[in-house]
């Protein structure tokens, strides 16, 4: 079965991620057809003849870049949850709200459907995203062959839902704009908001630099070994 499957990398073909045009990599000397692009060298690249995009067989240094971004996001996740995201001043008395505090407030007021939405968007989604990206990075690093289709799917889900975490930042922005009654009531943004925004942006970039084809490279490598074994045996 596996001989039927051919990847672009094996055939020296590149597909433009923007316009789907397939181009052929120029032949390179001294490269046996079965060797893959070594990790320490920049993978070969060409420019798409149709849309002028820079094409790579794999996103260069995808693992290193994504790991750095995920780690940075993980560090920012701590202040994002500890520091207050907003300071509400009402009739001279100040009150600070962390992300979780805001959710509890909503819940106490009986707005539990909204509390649930904000809880999922601001607590569950960023945490899941960090865990999923971390897991994917580890699985690629150790060449795991465990359910590649599901892992690819998981990656696309995290990529898609990540932006919804911005809802807390936008709520803050609207409250700051609306509640400006001088000494009576005002809302100010806290440091937690900046950290939280950093988590959302960093994880969005991490999803952008992660190359899902790396998940499948481990499978292809395994198939290649199998083929070798059968031809030798």
């Amino acid at each position: 079965m596996s001989t039927l499957y051919k990847t672009g990398l094996e055939e020296g073909l590149l597909c433009c991620p923007h316009c789907n045009l397939i181009s052929r990599l120029p032949e390179q000397k001294n490269t046996a057809p079965k060797t893959r692009a070594p990790n320490n060298r920049q993978p070969p690249s060409i420019i798409c003849p149709r849309c002028d995009a820079l094409l790579h067989t794999r996103i260069p240094h995808s693992l290193a870049k994504t790991t750095a971004l995920v780690l940075a996001a993980t560090f920012m996740y701590i202040p994002a949850n500890i520091l207050p995201i907003m300071n509400v001043t009402y009739l001279g008395s100040g009150q600070t709200d962390t992300i979780m505090g805001g959710i509890i407030h909503l819940f106490m007021e009986g707005m539990w459907p909204l509390a649930l939405i904000v809880f999922v968007a601001s607590i569950v989604v960023p945490l899941l995203k960090l865990l999923v990206m971390g897991g994917l990075l580890l699985s690629v690093k150790f060449g795991s062959c465990w359910r590649p289709a599901q892992r690819t799917h998981l990656f696309h889900i995290t990529e898609f839902i990540g932006r919804w975490s911005m809802v807390d930042i936008f709520v803050l922005a609207i409250l700051v704009a609306l509640v400006q009654f001088g000494n009576i009531a005002s809302v100010d943004a806290g440091l937690g908001a900046l950290s939280f925004a950093a988590v959302v942006i960093l994880t969005m970039f991490a999803a952008h630099t992660f190359d899902p084809r790396l998940i499948w490279d481990a499978m292809d490598k395994k198939n290649l070994h199998k083929q070798k074994d059968t031809t030798h045996g």
Binding site: G8, H18, R50, T152, L175, V176, Q180, I201, R213, D220
Partner: protein
């Protein structure tokens, strides 16, 4: 259109973006989707009349976007004072209270990227429709497609609802005129991204260059 005919009568070679598998896909009927045989990612979607519909939706989007920016989204009434908030005022107020980074982030995701995306889309689709060709169409369309995730108007709509509920017991919240056009805009943008067939634009590029 010639490109359309060619595209949907022949088998075409595709390489999956997710797993790098080379495969041939048969001609697709309208509304059908081709998926990768190995990882089930979408290889191609055939949308009916994508160019005309997307152009119409993008033009509608521009009008709604301007309306949403002209009038207040929400008004707050407390102690005889009424305060209005527009789409732009969120980023302006954040800047005013010395949060420039947050202000820029909100400005980029709710004003700049949605505006660029709508204007760029009208330019690209309009050029393709009228048969103009320019070296800029390719790079602009590529930019629009890759910055698509940074326009977050639908997330902002959810934030408006949450903020409205939060303030509901403190003061009187009056929905502004823009709120309705903003709601329509979010729906139009969702429709736009589901009717757009990027291949139509790229095939036009191929035939003109």
């Amino acid at each position: 259109m010639q490109g359309e005919k060619h595209k949907h009568t022949q088998r075409v070679l595709r390489i999956c973006h997710d797993c790098d598998l080379i495969q041939e896909i048969p001609p697709l009927k309208a509304g059908k989707t081709a998926r990768c045989i190995r990882c089930h990612s979408i290889l191609e979607r055939h949308r009916t009349n994508s160019l005309d519909r997307s152009l119409a939706l993008a033009l509608t989007g521009i009008i709604l976007f301007m309306l949403s920016n002209l009038f207040p989204l929400l008004s707050l009434k407390a102690g005889g004072v009424a305060l209005d908030s527009t789409l732009l005022s969120s980023s302006i107020e954040l800047f005013r209270i010395d949060r420039p980074l947050l202000s820029l982030l909100v400005f980029f995701t709710t004003i700049l990227f949605p505006a660029l995306s709508l204007a760029g889309m009208v330019y690209v689709l309009g050029s393709v429709k009228l048969g103009h060709n320019s070296q800029w169409i390719g790079p602009i369309f590529r930019f629009l497609r890759s910055t698509d995730v940074w326009g977050m108007l639908e997330v902002f709509l959810l934030a408006i609802i949450v903020a409205g509920v939060k303030l509901g017991d403190l003061a009187e919240i009056i929905p502004g005129i823009s709120l309705y056009s903003f709601f329509a805009l979010v729906i139009i943008l969702a429709l736009l991204s589901s009717t757009l067939d990027p291949d139509d634009v790229w095939q036009h590029q191929e035939t003109t260059t």
